[in-house]
């Protein structure tokens, strides 16, 4: 009996603490000066970073949270996790879509509240699919394909720096990405296999989307933001070959999905 009372009081105080914590972080409203940082748009940013950044921007617009975009050559090194993009809100710095979604949820803004548990699990699964397939394919094409690396990725990545630092940093990044690809088993793949993987991923997404406006009901979720970010960037970025864009264009509902989100949330944006 005593043990029960003690455990009950402990759990109550714990709940109180958690509530206090949540209310304290949620207490601050979303400031006007919230800023999103990414590498320089014209000369420096690469496909994968651009896709991630666009996904976060789409998500924040869907939540109705205003954010300014700032361009810095050292954005990658400023980020606490080393990944683009990151947002500076008040005096907090949060990077990548997953943690940013958690952060906005703590502030009381969420897009996936209306989903039940099964749908939420499904959403998480599809987000993992996009991250593991689309994002990895983008990294592979950028850094493991010699033609793209030499013509596009290395010159762009090293553009803010002077020689010989530019060469050192570009090759360092290339080795790092190639090591990561080998570690996850993509090192042995050919470009054709990667294109096939992208096609399969798009097919799964296309099937899930069907004729609906968004992936879940009529409301957008973070999955919509993520898919939009990646597909739109692939369709609008010039690479050494147009094969990747063509594969996506073969799924017409994905194309109209991208166009719809661009018109709804980015109509003031000139792309």
């Amino acid at each position: 009996m005593n043990v029960l009372v003690v455990s009950l009081s402990l759990s109550l105080s714990l709940c109180l603490l958690v509530c206090l914590f949540l209310t304290s972080t949620a207490a601050e409203p979303w400031p006007e000066t919230a800023t999103l940082y990414q590498p320089l748009k014209e000369d420096q940013i690469l496909l994968s970073d651009c896709a991630s950044s666009l996904a976060v921007q789409a998500y924040l617009r869907m939540c109705g949270l205003p954010v300014q975009v700032a361009y810095r050559a050292n954005a990658e090194y400023m980020s606490p996790s080393g990944k683009i993009p990151f947002i500076h809100v008040g005096n907090q710095v949060v990077s990548e879509l997953g943690p940013i979604v958690q952060f906005t949820k703590a502030k009381g803004h969420s897009l996936s509240d209306g989903l039940d548990d099964i749908q939420r699990a499904e959403m998480k699964a599809y987000m993992e699919l996009v991250n593991n397939m689309l994002l990895t394919a983008e990294l592979y094409i950028q850094w493991c394909d010699d033609a793209t690396a030499a013509e596009i990725s290395r010159p762009r990545y090293s553009s803010p720096y002077s020689w010989p630092l530019s060469n050192i940093l570009a090759y360092q990044k290339q080795w790092e990405v190639r090591r990561k690809m080998n570690a996850i088993g993509w090192g042995g793949k050919t470009l054709e296999q990667v294109y096939e993987d992208v096609s399969q991923c798009c097919q799964a997404l296309s099937q899930r989307l069907g004729t609906q406006p968004f992936f879940f009901n009529k409301q957008p979720t973070e999955l919509d933001a993520l898919v939009f970010g990646h597909l739109f960037t692939i369709l609008t970025t010039r690479l050494t070959s147009t094969e990747l864009a063509e594969r996506i264009k073969s799924y017409s509902n994905l194309l109209s999905f991208c166009r719809r989100i661009e018109q709804t949330y980015f109509e003031d944006k000139t792309s």
């Binding site: 050292n74 090194y77 606490p80 005096n91 710095v93 720096y161 002077s162 630092l165």
Partner: protein, 449 residues
């Protein structure tokens, strides 16, 4: 020095009755001879015919010719001894000999002059490879330092040094090559390659420098000049997640390629550095000077006055980098304030400034009542000080009058007293009671230092 045999045994005269030999009779004439010879040697002109160096292994002889050439110009014996001593000092300062012994002897051989001398330097060369191993503990980090030195590598007093430090947090290493000009040891060339990491908790910043430098030292009249080119790849990062955003904005890589000129003239030291014109991202002109005067007063006390100042002028319209700016504060500059904790700051992280000046007036006296005099007590001194300084960013659009005005407002200063313990040339411990004045918002200060 050759032995002078003062005695010469003449056959004893056979006297009849005077059989007892008076020892004074026998000794006196030789003494007179000895004294006469001494006088002669001092004033006598000598000619140094040969100067030899024995014990050379890998050292090349042409290097040493310059150091010992002066001995040939000696005119008398005392002069020979003096010049030989000076030559010995010169040979030792090359850093290639463990010991040098001098032997002066009369010359012999077919071409020996009656007043000729031979001077021989017997040298012991340092080993080809020396190593050292230390462990260091400090600042929450332990490290193992391994040093390798190759003195006199190619026979002309070149020196190659390698140092490697392996710590719990960081690793750093450096390779250095030193070559003096034969005959003019003060003119030398040093080439360096290094990787150094540093942590600066007052700015929540950590810095990794990988670079190389080439410097040339030469004396010019009374001053010693150094010309240096340095190329450094700098990587800056936040030391903690709680670093301020201003420091976070400085994270990343940059390349600095700078030429600098350093002058050392007695009590005055000046440095000018120009970056950006030989490549690299950083572009600035930096000036720094230091002046120190010491004067001994009555009762074994010493009055010391020092003045430092500097300015950083960014070129090319880019803002200056946190790694290039000046920092002020702490037990080495303005006592009473935290380490490098004066000046512009953001959320508790000190960002440094582009212009500064600092001055100090110190009086060192022996301890009152002189306890332990002549022994341990002499290592302690009482210390009265007055420090002042200012660190700020200048608006380079305004004129020099506005700059002086800005440096003169908001001066931080402090005064106090304490005890200093000097442990040879290794360390200096101070315990002071400080009264910081002129503290501006954002500065960190302490009372006991």
């Amino acid at each position: 020095m050759g032995t002078v045999h003062a005695k010469s045994l003449d056959p004893l005269p056979m006297h009849g009755r005077d059989l007892g030999v008076n020892p004074d009779d026998l000794v006196e004439p030789p003494e007179m001879e000895h004294e006469a010879k001494q006088e002669i040697l001092e004033n006598k002109d000598v000619v140094v015919q040969h100067v030899n160096i024995q014990g050379l292994g890998r050292t090349k002889e042409d290097l040493l010719g310059y150091e010992i050439s002066d001995v040939f110009h000696a005119k008398n014996l005392i002069d020979v001894m003096k010049k030989a001593h000076v030559a010995r000092q010169k040979l030792l300062r090359l850093g290639i000999f463990k010991e040098v012994e001098v032997l002066i002897d009369t010359s012999d051989g077919t071409d020996a002059l009656p007043n000729g001398l031979d001077v021989t330097f017997e040298v012991t060369e340092i080993k080809r490879l020396t190593g050292s191993y230390n462990t260091m503990v400090g600042n929450n980090e332990g490290s193992m330092v391994l040093g390798l030195k190759l003195p006199n590598m190619l026979g002309r007093a070149e020196k190659l040094t390698f140092q490697f430090s392996y710590g719990t947090k960081e690793t750093s290493y450096g390779l250095s090559f030193f070559k003096p000009q034969p005959g003019h040891f003060e003119r030398n060339l040093t080439l360096n390659m290094y990787k150094v990491t540093g942590q600066f908790p007052w700015s929540s910043l950590k810095e990794t420098d990988r670079g190389m430098s080439a410097e040339v030292n030469f004396p010019l009249g009374m001053t010693n000049h150094t010309l240096k080119w340095e190329g450094v790849w700098r990587e800056l990062g936040c030391l903690a997640r709680s670093a301020s955003f201003a420091v976070r904005e400085e994270s990343g890589h940059s390349l600095k390629s700078a030429l600098s000129v350093q002058c050392l003239w007695g009590v005055c030291f000046a440095l000018q550095e120009l970056a950006g014109y030989t490549g690299g991202d950083a572009s600035f002109l930096k000036e720094d000077f230091e002046l120190q005067l010491n004067r001994r007063l009555f009762w074994d006390s010493v009055l010391s006055a020092s003045l430092w100042g500097g300015m950083l002028y960014p070129l090319g319209g880019q803002p200056s980098c946190i790694a290039d700016r000046f920092y002020l504060g702490g037990p080495t500059s303005v006592r009473g304030f935290g380490m490098y904790s004066i000046g512009p700051q953001s959320e508790g992280d000190y960002l440094g400034g582009e212009a500064y000046w600092a001055g100090g007036l110190h009086l060192y006296t022996p301890l009152p009542f002189r306890p332990g005099k002549g022994g341990f007590g002499d290592l302690f001194r009482t210390h009265f000080f007055l420090n002042a300084g200012n660190l700020c960013n200048l608006n380079y659009g305004d004129g020099p009058r506005a700059h002086l005005q800005k440096l003169a407002e908001c001066i931080r200063w402090s005064y106090g007293a304490g005890i200093v313990l000097r442990l040879g040339n290794i360390a200096r411990l101070e315990l002071n009671y400080c009264v910081p004045m002129g503290v501006q918002s954002g500065d960190r200060y302490t009372v006991f230092l």
